[in-house]
């Protein structure tokens, strides 16, 4: 065993505050309910059309919540699908099952589909915003991100700053126990098994951007962390993975090299 899942996180709306989950279904396209909403902006590049906390830091202070949370953690027929001899997919429920409300920094709560929600962001954006929903996670590059507590600790030591682990917005925070920071880098190109069923292929190191400079509880930024990661770690921190075998994972699950 290499380590275990210290915590599991999904982010219902891209760039907004995430939620910790005890158990979640991991599909080929990412964690169920992860980044299923995103804000797109008319002034963003077409290749990356998202309005994110890079352009509006306090988005990380907005808390998005699924209105029917229980139904967004695992597909209803997961067991039957996994037991099927042809290894069929477990279908997701329709979009209405993923309805989300958002609590803003001032405590106001609005349905994400309420026009008043976007109207409240108008002054904070340079372009016109719209809300996109998709069952598929709107990740930047790959379906799953993995980051170790040891890497957080190493960066804290190297920079002498109080870094919050959620600055890295990973899905899986991992405790490698006796291994050092950035151990996850050594897994690039390898298959790992998480819990009883999920298999990941660790594809590449995660190239970092300004987002990691934003503190998740204050939305204050410290550009020095990104400069440090760029200079000392070639701009990478954490790893991206693809999902080879779907299934549920739980916080505390073991992580081991797959056969």
């Amino acid at each position: 065993m290499l380590g275990h899942l210290e915590s599991v996180w999904r982010y219902p709306v891209k760039s907004m505050r995430g939620e910790e989950v005890d158990e979640i279904f991991v599909s080929f396209t990412g964690l169920m309910g992860d980044r299923v909403y995103a804000l797109s902006s008319t002034v963003a590049p077409t290749s990356f059309p998202w309005h994110t906390a890079r352009e509006q830091e306090d988005l990380v202070l907005y808390q998005a919540r699924f209105k029917k949370r229980q139904g967004t953690l695992k597909p209803e027929n997961l067991k039957e699908a996994m037991d099927h001899p042809a290894n069929v997919h477990a279908p997701y429920p329709g979009g209405e099952a993923f309805a989300v409300e958002v609590e803003g920094p001032g405590g106001e709560v609005l349905d994400i589909a309420d026009p008043a929600f976007l109207a409240g962001l108008k002054d904070k954006s340079e372009g016109d915003l719209s809300v996109l929903f998709t069952h598929r996670s709107v990740v930047d590059c790959r379906p799953v991100t993995l980051f170790s507590l040891q890497t957080v600790d190493q960066l804290r030591e190297e920079t002498g700053t109080d870094i919050h682990k959620l600055q890295f917005r990973a899905n899986f925070y991992v405790d490698w126990k006796d291994k050092g920071g950035f151990f996850e880098d050594e897994l690039v190109g390898k298959k790992v098994k998480v819990g009883d069923s999920v298999e990941l292929m660790v594809l590449e190191r995660d190239p970092r951007c300004k987002f990691i400079t934003i503190h998740p509880e204050t939305a204050e930024t410290d550009p020095k962390l990104l400069k440090h990661v760029t200079r000392k770690h070639e701009g990478f921190a954490g790893v991206y993975a693809a999902v080879l075998k779907e299934g549920p994972v739980r916080a505390g699950d073991s992580i081991a090299l797959a056969d």
Binding site: T42, V43, Q56, R208, K210, L226
Partner: protein, 341 residues
């Protein structure tokens, strides 16, 4: 950069490839669109569900024209120029940022010699009108085009020559008849008028040639004003197709604080601050060079820059003075950036 709605009030065919677009701001925005002859407007153009930005110089002058007008010549494969010519009709509304640019008359005590190529005539004719209407200065224009059909503003130039006899001389150079403009053509046109102010706008090789000839003739850099419009590095990249003018003033260097040391960094036209620092062996933190990662965010302590793209910067970053080294083009000779901030 803030954008405001401008209504297209008239569209005029200037040549088979170029159209002029008269624009009117809303009454409450008229003051925002006051301008100096030679300046440009930045347009936000709808493109594939998003927007791209393009800059086009005003061909009008406040002293002689009531409306704002830009003239856009089709460029093969050019997204912005073809969109203007194919799409815009009277009554359409465009998002436009107020005028800016430093390709303007600086002195009122020296005659003007102007070189224009193709659609480079747009800011040049604006400056000519200012010189004629607002001063007693004389102006000489060398205007190069592929052939006679491509001459933009031919009648307007003839009328200006007639209205201001002896003060405006206009020499047309047609490639179809005489071949491309050569250094001899430029040098001959300058003659002994080396104490003039020189304005240049047109295709890059044309501008480079004119600048080199003037330099070789001993014209001081500070007497040469150039308007360069560049497209993104990859013209097929629809993500950030921002055209923008490079520094028309002669920025020779900028100041950079890096690792607690002060550096005077030579500036080369068309390059970003980051390029120039790397050329000097300096290594400020940077990564993507595409305004995406934000690792080259630095504080601008003084001076003016324009950024080709600034997508990763928030309003808050901009208010704090952050710029991106990989996108910044200096617009004044007092630029100072702090890379340690």
């Amino acid at each position: 950069m803030n954008f405001y709605p401008l209504t297209v009030s008239q569209v005029v065919d200037e040549t088979p490839l170029a159209r002029s677009f008269e624009l009117r701001p809303a009454d409450e925005h008229v003051d925002l669109f006051a301008y100096k002859p030679g300046q440009f407007l930045t347009f936000r153009i709808p493109w594939q569900g998003a927007h791209m930005e393009r800059c086009y110089s005003l061909c009008t002058a406040p002293c002689s024209d009531r409306a704002l007008k830009v003239t856009v010549k089709r460029v093969e494969g050019g997204k912005g120029s073809n969109w203007f010519n194919d799409t815009l009709r009277p009554g359409d509304v465009l998002d436009v940022a107020p005028p800016s640019g430093r390709f303007v008359m600086r002195n009122r005590d020296r005659p003007l010699v102007l070189f224009a190529g193709g659609s480079g005539i747009t800011p040049v004719i604006s400056i000519i009108k200012q010189a004629l209407y607002e001063t007693d200065l004389s102006a000489r224009l060398l205007y190069a085009n592929a052939n006679r059909d491509q001459i933009i503003f031919r009648q307007e130039l003839e009328r200006l020559c007639a209205d201001f006899p002896g003060r405006l001389q206009c020499r047309h150079h047609l490639d179809a008849e005489k071949g491309l403009v050569t250094s001899d053509v430029i040098s001959d046109f300058v003659g002994d008028r080396l104490d003039s102010d020189f304005f240049i706008c047109g295709p890059a090789p044309f501008m480079d040639l004119a600048e080199n000839v003037l330099g070789a003739r001993g014209v001081e850099d500070r007497r040469i004003f150039i308007e360069r419009f560049t497209s993104p590095d990859d013209p097929s990249n629809a993500d950030a197709p921002v055209s923008m003018p490079e520094a028309d003033c002669k920025v020779l260097a900028f100041r950079a604080t890096l690792d607690d040391e002060e550096h005077k960094v030579p500036y080369q036209a068309g390059q970003t601050l980051l390029d120039c620092m790397l050329n000097q062996g300096l290594d400020p933190v940077h990564s993507c060079k595409d305004a995406h990662c934000g690792s080259c965010m630095v504080i601008k302590k003084s001076g003016e820059v324009i950024m080709r793209k600034s997508t990763v910067l928030s309003k808050r970053d901009k208010a704090k003075g952050y710029i991106l080294l990989c996108q910044a083009i200096p617009q004044s000779d007092d630029v100072w950036v702090d890379c340690d901030a």
